[in-house]
């Protein structure tokens, strides 16, 4: 049916990547370049009383020092979001108040990295230490105010209360929760905690800048959001947008961690002041401490249900640790409700309340899953608890109560991103098939009947086995906010330039977008020269976040290619001497319809040559933009099989299966890769990824080794099954897949743990210490 879509086309940059030919930000160096080091705060909460950089300045080779003394105190948010950003303006590039260990004190630019590092140590600072808030549950009522003395404000009209350490607040209700809860025969009330996490993209954050031949500032950056970088740097560095060009070269993974504008303004200011190229590359320690993290969360659920398992009411109350600054605080919070509560849409009474609070700990930000991961841990267990209490089979339960095609949830309209959401009816879902196929491939019933905390299989055994499952949804792009655009032109050999603002983080979006154009134009993928993420040469795109690129940028490319096709048909008909409606495209040619007596055919190359040189000359070219009226959810069903060692407390995942509905997988191999990567990250987040802090708020496990990124031998057998649906608003039926699958491991493993042991896990990660404690209680 499809020729270039739904095909495992090799990544167009693949061979260049695996032969080491591609360039990443740190691979760019320029003559006369300065090297930058940043001094970060060693105190969780302190005021700079005296700042003396005179000794550092005297070191030969030190060229520029940026600090609160010489950098304008301009408020902004580091969140790389659309304008006006839904995150509060509570950050200055270099301020005189340090709000977490890792906050920016100053930056030194020198002739070499060694000199810059030496100079940093010579800077003398007298701090007034303040009492920090290190427990997010105590932040709201604390006498300590983190942003009190400042002038932070929300950029959009939303609730914001810095005097009570509230960075964000969200409330939404459909139906009447209290009444329905009170009238329910059965009630459940449980709280769940999830930990901090680092994205651990293999490439650390980096930025390089220089002044081009005409005096403009060029920034090469490891960013997911080049256009937002241009806008935010312009704001902070007070350089007109017209003077800034941002280029994203290859980037070594993002996962949300690079949807943040952190290093770019620093190199920009240094280059703008010195007129010399500048490079800043963060060490792994700096990435752990100073960039952004997954927010720590407490989610408290109340559920009222009937004896037959019908849930009448759910209240999800979320408390989010925003850290020292409120980057993504509001939107991650809303997502915790908006991406979970619509799943079982037959529940009539739903309430979501949430607060994001400031602490003197590292800052949360965007992280794959974006609030949904944090909330599904509890949501998935609550559903399991209801099934357990009412004797329902969870597989059949999800089939019965989950949202289906043609249905809606009032939550879609009630909960948006800092404002009301957008009403939406589901038009594509293979969730029921995912449940059935997943259960059958996983041998769910055989295993579920065999295992169980009281089963013969587990009785008296040291190693206990269990299986658990969870259903999930996410979204595809932010409706009526995110915009993507594409530009295409034809070349005289029948090839095409495809210029897109979309940002390939390694996901393969450059390839996928070329596949979409190839399908529209019936041209092989290798005939597309793809240029992406360069603010001078590619049209606007909000960037790589919110599971948007395939769905949103894909539609822009599809529209654009459609316009090109019409132009090609017109010129082809002209050459063949027939009417426009008498021709079609076929395999890089325009051919006459079968009903034309004398068949005619002209190649794309000849068509472009004709348009260039023969008659009514013009460039075959087009642009298109796309905004989506909705955010169709992908769905997934996850099954896990685990072993619990009751002596050591070690949980071992021995099998994992995910059945996923991403609409049409434009490139099935790359789609599977997205799911597999997210699942493995999700499993390690469930089992061991965490931030350990000292009593002063210092992160103790700030290296790959201490933090514990999984290696190949840690990975259980993971099977991903893609089950298509067809989303009519997506390109060739596609939705998204990048985020959803990180949400599954927490609930699926916790439910398997209950199956194996009869005990519930309320905190992640499920460390051996915690598991032993739970088993003992």
């Amino acid at each position: 049916m499809f020729k270039y879509v739904k095909k495992a086309v090799d990544k167009i940059d693949g061979l260049a990547l695996v032969t080491g030919n591609e360039k990443y930000t740190d691979d760019f160096s320029f003559p006369n370049m300065l090297y930058v080091s940043v001094l970060h705060s060693g105190y969780a909460y302190a005021k700079i009383e005296d700042f003396d950089d005179s000794a550092a300045k005297k070191i030969p080779g030190v060229i520029e020092i940026l600090s609160h003394k010489n950098v304008n105190q301009i408020l902004y948010t580091t969140a790389g979001q659309g304008y006006p950003e839904p995150s509060p303006y509570d950050t200055v590039l270099f301020g005189n108040t340090m709000r977490f260990i890792g906050d920016n004190v100053c930056a030194v630019a020198a002739e070499s990295k060694e000199i810059a590092d030496t100079a940093i140590k010579k800077i003398k600072i007298k701090y007034k230490r303040l009492k920090p808030i290190l427990d997010f549950e105590k932040s709201n009522n604390s006498k300590v105010i983190i942003h009190k003395y400042d002038w932070a404000f929300p950029k959009i009209p939303v609730f914001y209360d810095a005097s009570h350490n509230i960075a964000a607040k969200v409330e939404a209700e459909v139906g009447n929760f209290e009444e329905a809860f009170n009238n329910s025969t059965n009630k459940l009330q449980k709280s769940f905690y999830v930990s901090y996490a680092s994205h651990c993209a293999l490439e650390p954050h980096a930025a390089v800048s220089y002044i081009d031949n005409r005096g403009r500032l060029v920034i090469i950056s490891t960013t997911q959001v080049p256009f937002h970088v241009r806008r935010i740097v312009s704001h902070i560095a007070e350089i007109p947008i017209s003077k800034i060009r941002v280029i994203k070269p290859r980037i070594g993974g993002g996962f949300g961690g690079k949807q943040e504008v952190l290093l770019e303004p620093i190199v920009a200011l240094i280059t703008w002041r010195t007129k010399r190229p500048a490079k800043l590359v963060y060490s792994r320690k700096e990435v752990f401490n100073s960039t952004r993290t997954r927010h720590q969360y407490k989610t408290s659920f109340k559920a009222g249900f009937q004896d037959d398992g019908k849930i009448n009411a759910i209240h999800l109350d979320a408390l989010e640790n925003s850290g020292a600054y409120g980057s993504h605080a509001l939107t991650v919070l809303s997502n915790a409700g908006s991406k979970t509560l619509p799943l079982l849409n037959k529940i009539k009474n739903l309430k979501f309340t949430g607060k994001g609070v400031y602490t003197n700990l590292p800052c949360g930000g965007a992280y794959r899953g974006y609030g949904a991961t944090e909330a599904y841990f509890g949501y998935g267990q609550i559903i399991d608890m209801v099934c357990e209490a009412t004797g329902n089979d969870i597989v059949q339960y999800y089939k019965k109560w989950s949202i289906k095609s043609g249905e809606t949830s009032p939550i879609f309209e009630a909960l948006g991103e800092g404002k009301a959401g957008i009403a939406m009816t589901i038009t594509s879902s293979s969730l029921e098939e995912c449940i059935d196929t997943g259960a059958s491939e996983f041998h769910w019933y055989q295993k579920r009947n065999l295992y169980g905390s009281c089963s013969e299989f587990n009785k008296g055994k040291r190693i206990k086995r269990g299986v658990g499952m969870a259903s999930l949804m996410q979204g595809s792009a932010i409706p009526e906010i995110d915009m993507a655009s594409a530009y295409m032109k034809m070349n005289d050999d029948g090839s095409f330039n495809l210029n897109i603002g979309a940002t390939d983080l390694g996901t393969g979006s450059d390839t996928i977008l070329a596949q979409i154009a190839a399908e529209v134009l019936d041209v092989p993928v290798d005939k597309f020269i793809v240029t992406s993420s360069d603010t001078d040469f590619t049209p606007f795109d909000t960037g790589a976040y919110a599971s948007s690129t395939t769905y949103l940028s894909g539609q822009a490319v599809m529209k654009c290619a459609g316009k090109i096709k019409n132009q090609i048909l017109k010129v082809g008909a002209d050459i063949l001497g027939v009417k426009e409606n008498e021709v079609d495209i076929d395999n890089e040619c325009v051919i006459t319809n079968p009903r034309i007596e004398v068949p005619g055919k002209v190649s794309y190359g000849d068509i472009c040559n004709y348009a260039f040189y023969q008659n009514n000359q013009f460039q075959i070219q087009a642009e298109a933009s796309h905004v989506s009226p909705k955010s169709p959810p992908p769905f997934a069903v996850h099954f896990s099989e685990i072993e619990v060692d009751s002596y050591t407390g070690i949980i071992k995942v021995i099998n994992y299966l995910a059945a996923v509905d991403c609409g049409t997988p434009i490139n099935p191999t790359l789609a599977e890769g997205q799911a597999e990567g997210a699942i493995v990250n999700g499993i390690s987040y469930a089992l061991y990824e965490d931030y350990h802090f000292s009593g002063f708020g210092k992160l103790l496990n700030d290296s790959f080794g201490k933090y514990g990124v999984p290696v190949a031998s840690d990975v259980p057998p993971v099977k991903v099954i893609l089950i298509d649906s067809y989303e009519e608003t997506g390109p060739f039926g596609a939705k998204s897949i990048s985020e959803i699958n990180i949400n599954g491991p927490l609930p699926a493993i916790a439910n398997a743990f209950f199956n194996a042991t009869g005990k519930r896990l309320y905190r992640s990660p499920f460390s051996p210490e915690y598991v032993l404690k739970v088993l003992k209680d």
């Binding site: 495992a8 090799d10 990544k11 940059d13 693949g14 061979l15 260049a16 990547l17 695996v18 032969t19 080491g20 030919n21 591609e22 360039k23 990443y24 740190d26 691979d27 994205h199 651990c200 993209a201 293999l202 490439e203 650390p204 290859r250 980037i251 070594g252 993974g253 996962f255 590359v281 060490s283 792994r284 983080l505 390694g506 996901t507 393969g508 191999t669 790359l670 599977e672 890769g673 597999e676 990567g677 997210a678 699942i679 493995v680 990250n681 290296s703 790959f704 080794g705 990124v709 290696v711 190949a712 031998s713 990975v715 993971v718």
Partner: protein
């Protein structure tokens, strides 16, 4: 100072400082295919083969390997003349962001040279020094497995 190093079977003039790591020396002399993910010997992005053995180049002083043979991923195969392993990495979807790929390819290349017919366990263990956050390792392990099969059976694969 300038010293001759044997890199990818060519003698190259490399400018080094006395206490410089091999990783730094390689990158500042243009061998940017060797990546730096942590500079602490934990991620494997900077792996090169030194006398055919995979080593984290951030943990080795350049001075200490002057007389040895250094192989980077470009010595395994190039864009215009890729090695079978590199082709299969790409066709298997083992390359997402590609930042771990140079080190990953070198670890796999070294394994297959020593052990052309590895078990799954041997494949996994040979990759344990290389972190990857994108793929979950599934397709990387698959690529190495497929390369071994194809190279052993001398099947020609698509270009």
């Amino acid at each position: 100072m300038k010293i001759k190093f044997n890199i990818n079977n060519k003698l190259e003039d490399i400018e080094i400082k006395p206490a410089e790591t091999l990783l730094n020396a390689l990158r500042t002399n243009g061998f940017t295919e060797v990546k730096c993910g942590c500079n602490e010997g934990e991620c494997g992005a900077c792996i090169v083969l030194i006398d055919e053995k995979p080593v984290n180049s951030c943990q080795v002083l350049a001075m200490s390997v002057i007389s040895k043979k250094i192989l980077t991923v470009k010595g395994v195969g190039t864009l215009h003349n890729p090695h079978m392993l590199q082709k299969i990495f790409t066709s298997s979807g083992a390359d997402q962001c590609g930042f771990c790929s140079p080190g990953m390819v070198l670890s796999a290349y070294s394994l297959l040279k020593d052990n052309p017919n590895p078990t799954d366990k041997e494949i996994v263990e040979s990759l344990d020094g290389n972190l990857c956050r994108c793929t979950g390792y599934v397709k990387i392990i698959d690529a190495v497995r497929r390369t071994a099969l194809i190279m052993n059976e001398n099947i020609t694969i698509r270009e």
